[in-house]
Each structure stands twice: as structure tokens, then as C-alpha cells.
């Protein structure tokens, strides 16, 4: 796959997903990650949005190709088609909404089924800044993460806390898996169009 711009050089290309219930702040997380700004007039995503960014993970340049999916049920059919070949995912819930936390299992099943069993998922308890309205405790969520072999961070798209970390940690885990041979970068996409390429 050719690079998108002449100036872009990277060692790896990872396809990422951002999934989770509507209103958990997925688009805001992505926006914060890419623009370093909080998007306060954000509204529901239609279908799928896209963003990309090159991050430096342990000396390697990794281009993250991030698909930000709509959380609303009606878009499920549209969004599911973007799961395939994803190397990593941010599974987002809202710490002030138990409902979004309860839906995690479904999202997880979907991701593992539609993307890959090997998909590296980081659980993100977003809206950390609204601690006063918290409905899901850190402990509870971190237990859930442990049980399901997920990484876990509480994030705030508003303040930017842990946002970059979430993406970078996820990318680092994938890199580690590749280095340990657990993941084959060539096969990860299992598409002819390599989702993950050794770039130039």
C-alpha cells in the first residue's frame, strides 16, 4: 500500500477501531487524540468517521488508521463492516453511565468475532473528569478488564488525560505481540490489501 503523503514515513500501519455505546465520547477521544482539542459541540456520529495519526512507539513509527464508529444501534450494520482486519480497538464506556458499561460484553463479543480473536483491546472508561457523577467504579471496571484480558485506562476526552496513552499503549501491545511472534503482521489483516504493512 502506498503511503498517503510523501512526507509520511512509518514502520507499521495498524488499523484501529473505536467502539462502544452512543454518547460515550468515542469521537471526542479521537478528536482529542488527533487535534489535541476537545470538541464540545460534538454530536452523534453518522456511520463511520476516519482519522489517522503517526505515533512513536518505542522508537518505531506507527501509523494508526482509526475508524471511529457510530455507537447508535441503527448504524450497527454499517459499522460492523469496518471491524475486519482491525489490529486494535478502544472499547469505550462512560463512567457516569452504567448502561454503557453493561453493554461492554456485547461490544467485546462483536469485536472478537468480527475483527479477530487476536485483536488487542483497551478498555477506556471515558469522562473521567465527571467523577462526581460516577456510576462505575475503577475497581469494578478493572476487574472486568482483567477477566476479559483487556488493558484498562480511565480517560477524559475533555482534559485529554490518558487519551494519547490509550492509543499508544494499545499500539505498544500490538508491537510487542509482533516482536514475540505472537502476531504475524502480514497475516493480521488477512486481506490482500495489507492492513498492516512494513512501510518505508
Amino acid at each position: 500500500m502506498s503511503q498517503t503523503a510523501m512526507s509520511e514515513t512509518y514502520d507499521f500501519l495498524f488499523k484501529f477501531l473505536v467502539i462502544g455505546n452512543a454518547g460515550t465520547g468515542k469521537s471526542c477521544l479521537l478528536h482529542q487524540f488527533i487535534e489535541k482539542k476537545f470538541k464540545d459541540d460534538s454530536n452523534h456520529t453518522i456511520g463511520v468517521e476516519f482519522g489517522s495519526k503517526i505515533v512513536n512507539v518505542g522508537g518505531k513509527y506507527v501509523k494508526l488508521q482509526i475508524w471511529d464508529t457510530a455507537g447508535q444501534e441503527r448504524f450497527r450494520s454499517v459499522t460492523r463492516s469496518y471491524y475486519r482486519g482491525a489490529a486494535g480497538a478502544l472499547l469505550v464506556y462512560d463512567i457516569t453511565s452504567r448502561e454503557t458499561y453493561n453493554a461492554l460484553t456485547n461490544w467485546l463479543t462483536d469485536a472478537r468475532m468480527l475483527a479477530s480473536q487476536n485483536i488487542v483491546i483497551i478498555l477506556c472508561g471515558n469522562k473521567k473528569d465527571l467523577d462526581a457523577e460516577r456510576e462505575v467504579t475503577f475497581l469494578e471496571a478493572s476487574r472486568f478488564a482483567q477477566e476479559n484480558e483487556l488493558m484498562f485506562l480511565e480517560t477524559s476526552a475533555l482534559t485529554g488525560e490518558n487519551v494519547e496513552e490509550a492509543f499508544v499503549q494499545c499500539a505498544r501491545k500490538i508491537l510487542n505481540k509482533i516482536e514475540s511472534g505472537e502476531l504475524d503482521p502480514e497475516r493480521m489483516g488477512s486481506d490482500t490489501e495489507a492492513v498492516l504493512t512494513n512501510g518505508i
Binding site: 498517503t4 487535534e35 470538541k39 456520529t45 476516519f50 488508521q65 463492516s81
Partner: protein, 965 residues
């Protein structure tokens, strides 16, 4: 006197004899002794005789010279000496001598009394003189006393008095000089207080004063010092003048101007001022840029200070580019504002002065005013001339800065901000000197094209990614969806009519007719405000990836979370229908016409069919259009790029769903569509990459403009009969393309409005040759489905098994008809299945049915043309079969008339034609193949066509055939 005196004294003491002796030494020498005198006296004293004797004395003896008588007489002696004669001669001489002596004695005696008398007188005179001498001596002595005692003192007094007066004068002068010297301090004080005119006045006065004292040697020093000071003042004044450039202050400038007037250097000042402005522009930009460069470099390395401005500009990092640009503009604004206010000052000042002059026009200082007015007009001209020069300088500096960094990797928001700042700067230029800012425009155009190329390239790559990840699922939107509800098209809401282009920034300024200079004359900075409101504005205009939607979007997409709201939607649609309300504009006309719904969309609202990718393209179009509004100069490039988005989408849909090696038939795609597809492939698609990924690097540069052909997502299955070979996806893809085309049509007037006249043909061509071909893509796409949906081969086999040379009229149709109908029923069922997933618009189902029926009918004709033998009854059976087929088919579909119905019927009935009619029929019906016609003639042989007639007819078929080849 002394001699006289000594003479007098000697005479007094001596005897007259002595005195006589004294009187003539020679005489006395000659005077004979007393003895001689007695001798003479004893001689006869006869006067006569004596006289004779005296007379006889030789003349020689009377000569007074030192005549040696003895020698003379000796020489006169005769050679032979005769005593006698000698005696005689001696006597004679004695006589002579006696005579002379006697004579002399007589004479002396004669004078004796006179002598005595005279001597007495001399003596008395001598006495008198001696007395006089004494008196004189005394007088002198007294005079000396007087002199010492009186005259010298008073004269000294007078002289001192005079001296005193002189010294008082000197002291005064010295005091003045001292003051003069002290003024120096005062002068520097005044300079510190920036009272330049005062200082100069003072200095000039000092100089004037000093010139009156120029006879003092110290003054020349002072003078030169004053001259130095004056020069120093001028220097300071120059510095003060230069300060004007950055921060104009009326009182400050007034002072400076006054000062220059005092110096009589108004013109010089003006030249100097312009130099300072030029310098100020240079220094300002350099300082600003240097500041940022050093800030970013993180050290105070001096190496940057030595760089040329141009090189310095290339050291700006992309992070600091925007704040630096803003600061640069702010700083330059201040310089220009200063210039503007300088001009204003002169305008006001001129008016004041003109008024003053007219009121005091008594001609007393005509020369002065003339000079003044000359100065004024010079200044005015200079200032006016300076405007464009300064603006040019500013432009060049900003240009260098703008082009110094490659903006192509900037974020959209950031880039737009750069444009906003620059366009504001151009507005400033417009107001400043009516400049069209060609330099800025050109550089912004350059950067824009460059940026947009990169931006577009990334967007195309992104679009490819979208396309390759697209599973052609319907993106659920409301039936009332309109692109105007999208954030990206909000700007069109603001200015409904395309003629009023929504150029945001100048509108407010122009409408209020307050120029920026007036607005910010007394402070503030137009660039400041922009920087402050940056967030609002850019966020608003440039949702970079459409992360957000707005209220309208919300209303367009929400209420969809469950299926329960569908009936509601339906109800609403019915209401629309009944009241005849014009439905929402973006719903396509075609779908409107199809209110009489086809079977397949009864359960679905007439929501537009579009995909996630379609939305993406539409949003990009919106962003591109915003770009055009801001960047009219590159509108063409932007539209060109925008057309590529459409091209690529069209191409993708075609390659995914319309290209099928097996069934590809040139007859299916219109030549227009094929031309368009070829054009896209040539101009936009990078075929090599898809074939040879390793070659990516080799010719990357030349393929920069191109994108690889997209691949269909592997999730999309086009081979399953159950899903009618991906009909749902095909419908979504094709109809979303049609929808996209409609949106482009909708945008056409807007695009046309911003398109430069010279480039309008491009737009027209794009619309007539590309956008309008979108719906033509339906044919090849759905044809593939139609061709696969029904097993025509099977039907041919079944038909081949039928006996057509039956001898009696049959009342039962053949089973192949049932089989065919069964296929159609199955097709219908599957179509219904698909339509549960995706609304199938009437034109689509019509096309599908049409294709299927046409193919079926053609297969029927082909099947009938395969018949070896056929009787009249057999022909009737064919008719029966076809009637049965039509009857059942018409129950399955709404499509009327049944396409190609005539094609079958005419073929069957041609069998009954007589020889002559047959011939003309053959000539008229070229739609049948040679094989079909030949077969027709052959099966007629033996019933009503003889062999001869057959030959003739076959020849006719050949005739028809030939020109075809």
C-alpha cells in the same frame, strides 16, 4: 657745547697770543720768534716799499698747501753756486719775510681792541650761560619731582578704571559663556523629555549667542560642541522619528515635525521617515520571525541572527508558523497604522495650516508660506507615493514568510486560518493603498494549490480506504435528509443564492463601511481579534473530519434507533402525499415520481440511498466548496479536485459492480459512459500500482496525481444467487452514486458562480459527461444481476426438447414456460428478500425486470430459432407458450409494456408470411440475427415456402448481412 665751553674757559685764562696761537697751529708754527719780529721792526717801514716787497714774493709762498719751501728753494738753485748771488737772494728773502712779518704785525695790532672787546663779550656770555645751566638743572629736578608725585598715579588710576570696565564686560561674557556651556545639560534634559523643538530652539539660540562671542578662543570650542550637540539632537530626532514607525503618537510626532521645521529639514525628514518605515518593516519582521525561530530552537544560539530573513523564514517550525504569522501581521499592521496616522496627521495639519495662512494672508511672509506650501506638497506627494511602496515591502516580507514553509501538511483548520489572516492582510492592503495585493494573492495561490494538492491527495487516499472498507451497507438517514443539514454545507444556508458568495470576512467590514484603519485607529489589532476568535471560527468552518454534527443533523438522523419509528415515518409520508406538500428538496425527483410504489419499497420510507462513503464524499465536497469560497483564485483547481472525488467514486462503483469479464458487453454501457470511464482511468487511476505494488517507489513522483484502483471489500459477496448476486450492495452502490450525482447537480449553480468564466466549459463538460452518466451505470450493473438471476441456458435446453412439428393444436403450454416462470418467481422472491434489506427504487426494479424479461424474450427467440422443424400447429404452440408466459409474467411485474414482447411475437408470426412479404419483412427486421432469420426461412420450407423462394430469401438475408460486416 662742551667744546664751546672749554674754548671759553681757555680764552679766559690765556693771553690773546696764546689764543691766536691756538687758533691756527700752522700759523703759530709760522709765527716768527720775537727776535725776528724785532728785526722786522727795525727794518724801514715804508709802507710802499713794503708793499712792493710783499708783492714781489713769489706766488708759491702763498699757497696754503704743505709746500716745502726749503726744498723749493734748494731746487731753484742754479747749477753753479755763486755765493754772491746766494747772499743776495738770501737777503731778498729776508726782506720779503720782514715785510710780511711787519704786515702781519700791523694787521694784528690793528685788530687788537676789537679782539679785546669781543673777548669781554664772550666772557659775559659764558657767565650768562652758566647761570642758565643752573636754572635748567633746578627746573629739571623740580619737574622730576612733580612727575613722580602727581601724573603717574592719576594716569594709572584712569588706566585701571578702564581695565575694570573691560573686565566687567568680560565677566558678563564669561557668565554668558558659562550659561551657554551649561545649556548643554539643559539640552540633554530636554532631549530626555523629548522636547526636540525646544532643544533645537535653545541650541540655535546658543549658537547665535556664541557667534557674538566668537573672538574668545574658548567659544570656538563651545561652538563646535554646540554643533555636535545639534548633530546629536538631529540624531536623536532621527531616532525619535524612527519610533513613529512602530507606534505613532500625535504629540510625539508633532514635536518631531516642529523640530524638523526648525531645522529647516522638513523634506529630509520625510525622506528619512520613509527610510525608517522601510527599515521598521524589515526589522519588525526579522525580530518577530527571529523570536519564534529562537524560541523553537530552544537556545539563544546567535547563528540565527546572522541569517538572511529569507533563510530565517525557512527555520520556522510548523507549530510556530501560525502564531508567528499572526504576530507578523500584527506587527506589520502597527507599522502600517503608524504610516496611516502619519498621513492623517499631515492632512489635518495641512488643513490647519492652510486655514491659518488664509487668515493671516497679509503678504508679510509670503515667501515663508510659499516655501511651506512647497514643503507640504512635497510631503504629501512623498507620503502618497510611499503608501504603495510600503505595502509592496509588507507584501514581499509576508510573501517570503508565507512561502518559506511548506504548508502542505498543515491541518485544514490551520491552513484556513493562514488564509484568513492573509486575506485580512489583503483587506488591509486594499484599504491602505487600494492595492489588489497581487504578490500576496500569488503566494497564497501558490501555497493553496500546493496545499490543496496534498490535501486532496490525502483525501483521495482516504476515499480509497473508505471505498475499500465499504461494504455497501445502507447508511440509515431520514427521508428528509438534505445535504444542507450537513455541517459542511452550513455555509450555503447562510447565503442561499449562489450569486451572493459567502465570503465571510470582508462582508462585515464592507457592510458597515468602516475601514479597518478607522476601526482600529486608536488601538486594537485586526489580527488580534482574529486570533482570539480563531477557535470559534475554524471549528465552525472546518470540522476536519466531521466528528461533530449539529442540531439539524441530529434531527436528520435521530429517532432511528429502533424500528418502531418507521410506521410514524410512513404516516408522515402519507400525509405528505395527501396534502400534496412538496417533499423535501433533496429527495430525488425520480423517487418522487415513483410515489406509486413498486412492490419492493412498500415497507421502506423513500429515504435516499447512500453509504458511509457517499457521505464522506459529500462532506468533502462541502469542505472543498468552503475552500473555494475562501480561495476564489484556485476555485478551478478545487472544482477540478472535487470532480475527481466524484470520478473516483463513479469509477469504484463501476469496477466493483459494473465490470464483469464474463458478461461484459460493449452494448451495455453507453458510449458516453465508456468514454467517461476511460477518461477517469487515464487521468486518475494508477493502474501500475495495483498490478505491481513493488513499483510504488520507482515512479512515485509522476504518479503523485493518481490513485490506485480500489478493491472491493472482501466482505461483499457478489456470487451468491440467494442474494441475487449482491443485488443489495449493487443497489446501495449504484443508487448512492445516483444520489451523489443529484447532489452534485444541486451544487452546480454554486460551483458555476465561483468558476472563472474561462474555465466554465470544464464544469459544463464535467456535468454533461460525467455527472449525468451516473444513472447510466445502472444498466451494466443490474444487467449482470439480470443475466445471472435467471437460468437462460437451462431454458434453451428445455426448449430444444420440445417437438414443434405437431399436427394438432395444443391446448397446454410447454413446461419450459413454467420453468421460466418459476425462475421469474424465484427472482421476484429474492428481489423481495433484498428489498427488505434495501429499498429498491422503482427505476432499479424496472431496470432489473426489463433486463430479465428482455433476456428471457431473446432467449425465447433464440430457442425458437433453434427449431429444426416446425408445423403451423407448432407455431401456434409457440404463441400459446408465449401468451402463457406473458400472462403470468404480468402478474409478477408492473412493468408495461413487456419489453421485447414484439420481438418475440413478430418472430413467431413471421412464419406465416408469404414469400414476398417475408422478403420485405426480412429487410425491415434487422434486429434479428442472421441465424434467426435463416432458421425462420428454413423452418418455413416445405409448408408455404418452396426451395426457390428459400434461395431467394437466404440471398436477401445475406444481402442484409453483408453491409453489416
Amino acid at each position: 657745547m662742551q667744546k664751546i665751553k672749554s674754548l671759553m674757559t681757555r680764552q679766559g685764562l690765556r693771553s690773546p697770543q696764546e689764543s691766536v696761537h691756538d687758533l691756527s697751529p700752522i700759523e703759530s708754527f709760522r709765527i716768527p720768534s720775537k727776535e725776528e719780529l724785532r728785526e722786522v721792526c727795525e727794518e724801514p717801514t715804508d709802507p710802499q716799499a713794503q708793499q712792493e716787497i710783499i708783492n714781489s714774493i713769489e706766488e708759491v709762498y702763498f699757497s696754503n698747501d704743505s709746500f716745502d719751501i726749503v726744498k723749493y728753494e734748494l731746487e731753484r738753485l742754479p747749477p753753479v753756486l755763486n755765493l754772491q748771488e746766494l747772499e743776495e737772494y738770501r737777503d731778498k728773502l729776508k726782506q720779503q719775510q720782514a715785510a710780511v712779518s711787519k704786515k702781519v704785525a700791523d694787521l694784528i695790532l690793528e685788530k687788537q681792541p676789537a679782539y679785546v672787546q669781543e673777548l669781554e663779550r664772550i666772557t659775559s656770555l659764558q657767565t650768562g650761560l652758566q647761570l642758565a645751566a643752573v636754572i635748567c638743572t633746578n627746573g629739571r629736578r623740580h619737574l622730576n619731582i612733580a612727575k613722580e608725585g602727581f601724573t603717574q598715579t592719576s594716569l594709572g588710576l584712569l588706566a585701571n578704571q578702564r581695565k575694570r570696565q573691560l573686565l566687567i564686560g568680560l565677566l558678563k561674557s564669561l557668565r554668558t559663556i558659562k550659561t551657554l556651556q551649561r545649556t548643554d545639560v539643559r539640552l540633554s534634559e530636554m532631549l530626555e523629555e523629548e522636547d526636540y523643538p525646544g532643544a533645537i530652539q535653545l541650541c540655535l539660540e546658543c549658537q547665535k549667542a556664541a557667534s557674538t562671542f566668537k573672538h574668545y578662543s574658548c567659544i570656538s570650542e563651545l561652538n563646535s560642541k554646540l554643533q555636535d550637540t545639534l548633530e546629536q539632537i538631529e540624531e536623536q530626532l532621527d531616532v525619535a522619528l524612527s519610533k513613529i514607525c512602530k507606534n505613532f503618537d500625535i504629540s510625539h510626532y508633532t514635536k518631531v515635525q516642529q523640530a524638523y521645521r526648525l531645522l529647516g529639514k522638513t523634506q529630509t525628514a520625510m525622506d528619512q521617515l520613509h527610510m525608517h518605515f522601510t527599515q521598521a518593516i524589515h526589522n519588525t519582521v526579522f525580530q518577530v520571525v527571529l523570536g519564534y525561530v529562537e524560541l523553537c530552537a530552544g537556545n539563544t544560539d546567535t547563528k540565527f541572527q546572522k541569517l538572511q530573513y529569507k533563510d530565517l523564514c525557512t527555520h520556522i517550525t510548523s507549530d510556530s508558523y501560525i502564531p508567528c504569522l499572526a504576530d507578523l501581521c500584527k506587527a506589520l499592521w502597527e507599522v502600517m497604522l503608524s504610516y496611516y496616522r502619519t498621513m492623517q496627521w499631515h492632512d489635518n495639519h495641512d488643513q490647519d495650516e492652510a486655514a491659518a495662512v488664509s487668515s493671516v494672508a497679509d503678504g508679510s511672509n509670503v515667501i515663508g508660506t510659499e516655501e511651506n506650501s512647497f514643503d507640504r506638497s512635497y510631503v504629501k506627494k512623498k507620503l502618497e507615493h510611499g503608501l504603495s511602496r510600503i505595502w509592496q515591502d509588507v507584501q514581499l516580507k509576508v510573501k517570503t514568510y508565507l512561502l518559506g514553509t511548506d504548508l502542505s501538511n498543515f491541518k485544514y483548520d490551520d491552513f484556513i486560518f493562514v488564509l484568513d489572516v492573509t486575506s485580512r492582510l489583503m483587506q488591509v492592503g486594499e484599504e491602505f493603498c487600494g492595492s489588489k495585493s497581487e504578490v500576496l494573492q500569488e503566494s497564497i495561490r501558490k501555497q493553496s494549490v500546493n496545499y490543496f494538492k496534498t490535501y486532496h491527495r490525502t483525501r483521495l487516499e482516504e476515499l480509497r480506504m473508505f471505498l475499500e472498507n465499504e461494504t455497501w451497507e445502507l447508511c440509515p438517514v431520514k427521508s428528509s435528509f438534505s445535504i444542507l443539514q450537513l455541517h459542511e454545507f452550513k455555509f450555503m444556508e447562510q447565503s442561499r443564492s449562489p450569486s451572493v458568495s459567502p465570503s465571510k470576512q470582508p462582508a462585515s467590514a464592507i457592510s458597515t463601511t468602516v475601514t479597518l484603519f478607522e476601526q482600529y485607529c486608536n488601538g486594537g489589532n485586526p489580527f488580534e481579534i482574529q486570533a482570539d476568535s480563531k477557535d470559534d471560527e475554524t471549528e465552525d468552518v472546518l470540522a476536519s473530519n466531521g466528528y461533530e454534527s449539529d442540531e439539524q443533523e441530529k434531527s436528520a438522523y435521530q429517532e432511528y434507533d429502533s424500528d418502531s419509528d418507521v410506521p410514524e415515518e410512513l404516516k408522515r409520508d402519507y400525509v405528505d402525499e395527501q396534502t400534496g406538500d412538496a417533499p423535501v428538496k433533496s429527495v430525488s425527483r425520480e423517487t418522487l415520481r415513483s410515489r406509486k410504489r413498486s412492490d419492493y419499497n412498500l415497507n421502506k420510507v423513500n429515504a435516499p440511498i447512500l453509504t458511509n462513503t457517499t457521505l464522506n464524499v459529500i462532506r468533502l465536497a462541502g469542505k472543498y466548496m468552503q475552500m473555494m469560497n475562501i480561495l476564489k483564485p484556485i476555485a478551478f483547481d478545487v472544482i477540478h479536485f472535487m470532480s475527481q472525488l466524484f470520478d473516483y467514486y463513479l469509477y469504484a462503483v463501476y469496477t466493483f459492480f459494473g465490470r464483469n469479464d464474463m458478461y461484459e458487453s460493449t452494448g451495455l454501457s453507453s458510449s458516453r459512459l465508456r468514454t467517461t470511464l476511460n477518461r477517469i482511468q487515464e487521468s486518475l487511476i494508477d493502474l501500475e500500482v495495483s498490478a505491481d505494488p513493488a513499483g510504488t517507489l520507482t515512479a512515485a513522483e509522476e504518479r503523485k496525481e493518481k490513485v490506485p484502483s480500489p478493491h472491493l471489500s472482501h466482505l461483499v459477496v457478489l456470487t451468491s444467487g440467494n442474494s441475487l448476486y449482491g443485488l443489495a450492495e449493487r443497489v446501495v452502490a449504484t443508487e448512492s452514486l445516483v444520489f451523489l450525482a443529484e447532489q452534485f447537480e444541486f451544487l452546480q449553480p454554486h460551483l458555476d458562480a465561483v468558476m472563472p468564466a474561462a474555465k466554465k466549459p470544464f464544469l459544463q463538460q464535467f456535468y454533461s459527461q460525467t455527472v449525468s452518466t451516473a444513472s447510466e451505470l445502472r444498466k451494466p450493473v443490474y444487467w449482470i444481476v439480470a443475466a445471472k438471476a435467471i437460468d437462460y441456458e437451462q431454458m434453451l435446453l428445455l426448449m430444444a426438447n420440445v417437438k414443434w412439428d405437431v399436427k394438432e393444436i395444443m391446448s397446454q403450454h410447454n413446461i419450459y414456460v413454467d420453468a421460466l416462470l418459476k425462475e421469474f418467481e424465484e427472482f421476484n422472491r429474492r428481489l423481495n428478500e433484498v428489498s427488505k434489506r434495501v429499498r429498491i427504487p422503482l427505476p432499479v426494479s424496472n431496470i432489473l425486470w426489463e433486463h430479465c424479461i428482455r433476456l428471457a424474450n431473446r432467449t425465447l427467440v433464440e430457442g425458437y430459432a433453434n427449431v429444426k422443424k416446425c408445423s403451423n400447429e407448432g407455431r401456434a404452440l409457440m404463441q400459446l407458450d408465449f401468451q402463457q408466459f406473458l400472462m403470468k409474467l404480468e402478474k409478477l411485474t408492473d412493468i408495461r409494456p413487456i419489453p421485447d414482447k414484439e420481438f418475440v411475437e413478430t418472430y413467431i408470426k413471421a412464419y406465416y408470411l408469404a414469400e414476398n412479404d417475408m422478403e420485405s419483412w426480412i429487410k425491415e427486421h434487422r434486429e434479428y440475427s442472421t441465424k434467426q432469420l435463416t432458421n425462420l426461412v428454413n423452418v418455413c420450407l416445405g409448408s408455404h415456402i418452396n426451395k426457390k423462394a428459400r434461395q431467394k430469401l437466404l440471398a436477401a438475408i445475406d444481402d442484409i448481412d453483408r453491409p453489416k460486416r
